[in-house]
């Protein structure tokens, strides 16, 4: 049952955010695409150094908010003016002002769901398994170390060349991670 272990990629350890930032710039300039930097906290300026675009989470939140507000207004109109209208104090059956506070809350509620689930969707989370999480050294990525990860899937990947690049930018330890 000895299944051949597939390599996942190379991880290179760095000790400081400055070294990591520098390494990320080098990896980006070398033209890699399937790579990542893992760190215990977001490093200021690393998104630029990696060439990441602005996150699209905002759109999910925006759509959630629009749906929430519309839903709230329609719901109250349907319940109090259309399906079973009750005259209260001779006032109009539907007033946007009375309907506003619940709709406002629903805007925020669905917008928050949009932000959370949008973030999880864009990150392809939750996932129960990840090759990196099996690696003992990589557990330091949530503690105080920084890792540049270059996947084998990358068209530019070559075990020797990539390893040389990672060592030349100052990594203290380069290791092959298996799938």
């Amino acid at each position: 049952m000895a299944e051949e272990k597939q390599p996942y990629g190379l991880i290179a350890q760095f000790e400081t955010p400055a070294d990591t930032l520098h390494a990320a710039e080098e990896v980006r300039d070398a033209g890699y695409s399937q790579w990542d930097v893992c760190s215990p906290f977001p490093i200021h300026g690393l998104d630029k150094a990696m060439g990441l675009k602005n996150s699209g989470v905002g759109w999910f939140a925006f759509i959630g908010g629009v749906v929430g507000f519309t839903l709230g207004m329609l719901m109250i109109w349907y319940m109090n003016a259309y399906d079973y209208g009750i005259i209260v104090g001779g006032k109009p059956m539907f007033s946007p002002f009375g309907a506003f506070p619940p709709s406002y809350e629903l805007t925020i509620l669905l917008s928050s769901f949009g932000a959370l689930f949008g973030m999880l969707f864009l990150n392809r989370l939750p996932r129960l398994h990840h090759p990196l999480l099996k690696n003992r050294r990589f557990a330091q990525a949530t503690h105080d170390k920084f890792f540049v990860v270059i996947e084998c899937e990358d068209p530019k990947y070559s075990e020797t060349e990539t390893r040389r690049l990672l060592e030349s930018v100052g990594s203290t330890h380069v290791e092959l991670v298996e799938e």
């Binding site: 955010p17 893992c38 996150s55 989470v57 809350e105 973030m119 949530t142 503690h143």
Partner: protein, 474 residues
Amino acid sequence: MAEATSNLKVSAPPAELEREPLVANQRGPGYISDAIAGVNERKTPKWWWSAFIPSVLLMLTCFAMVIYLMSTGVGVWGVNHPVMWGWAIINFVWWIGIGHAGTLISAILYLLGQRWRTSINRAAEAMTIFAVMCAGLFPVIHIGRIWLGWWLLPLPNNNAFWPQFRSPLMWDVFAVSTYFTVSVLFWYVGLIPDLAVMRDRAKTKLRRFWYGLFSLGWTGSQRHWNHYEKAYLILAGLSTPLVLSVHSIVSLDFSVSQLPGWHTTIFPPYFVAGAIYSGFGMVLTLIIPVRKLYNLQEIVTMRHIDLLCKVTLATGSIVAYAYVMEYFIAWYSGNPYERFIFFNRIFGEHYWWGGWLMILCNVVTPQLFWSKRVRQNLVVVFIISILVNIGMWFERFVIVVGSLYREFIPSNWGHYMPTWVDALTYLGTFGLFLTFFLLFLRFIPIIAMSEVKGGTPQADPHHPLGGAKVEGKH
């Protein structure tokens, strides 16, 4: 031109403008995770058990009181005509007000770039969630026939008609449930990277499984952080108008009615300021013992306490202003009922002392925080922080009972006296709150590790401690 600017020498700021660091003694990321995760990893301390067991008993008392109320009827409470809103509403407003500080710290201070929030926001948000749970109990049980509580939901009832959305009480249902849900979401999003820390440090299979499950497979990937930080920013941006709306809507429960003392336009901002004031009081009450018991003085420094005191002072002063304005408008309006109610609050029969207690605790004592010596004395700060919440409870008592027991027609006047069931239900909610808070202290990282790490100079790639070789270069 470019050369001219590059030759400019900028001198370092004078020493008195230097701010105290947020993490003392230049502790780095490794120390921070060890100190904070260690709280959950060490053996359960004795004091924890001696706090947890009474809390659980108190919580069970609360449940017993609720069962007694349900099985017997609202007659077990002191509410009766004309005071039909008694302790239940007072406690509801009080608890939900306490919750507001957590969201203020986590959302508003985040948007304002106040980085000192990072070492207290997790505990403050937990406080929010548990306080809203305590608050949510009261509107549900005060309706009398609890089994009809689902009439508050937007569902058609037995007669096929729907809830009436012109009522602020319906707005409240949406405000409070949204507030609870969004607070939990925001808290959980903040927790994901820290649960991953706990997973990676776990020594037992059980811990690895549970922390691993709830950390959703977080690897600390920068591509993930990119979406994560945006989502966090958006949630902060959404929580800010939310928290302001929640207590505004709570205040509308009162101000939309026409009773003197309630029917005023100042209520929404006045309630929000009071809520934040009481919440900061509670944050201080909780954080002072917690930082001491867990030896976290290097992460929750005296500067944090100092800043919390200053926010308490600021919001307390807004509350004081609102009191003055209420009295001024009552006089200036020329309305005899308004004038009478406000006179009655501090000189009237039965409850005049509640009015003075409220003024003493909310107007006078927070002013002591002008003194730096007071802000640095943890015992005094702790005592004041408790007085803050006593004062805020009496504020709600004065508003609720004060306006109801002396309304327009003297033949409608009455008296209100709570019963032992009222008292034990209220005390029991402390058990509910503390039980959950102690469980939080035991099992969840009580300080946002990744955020605290991100705020240290060691995390800044342009700082020498972050590995920058030449100043400003990496």
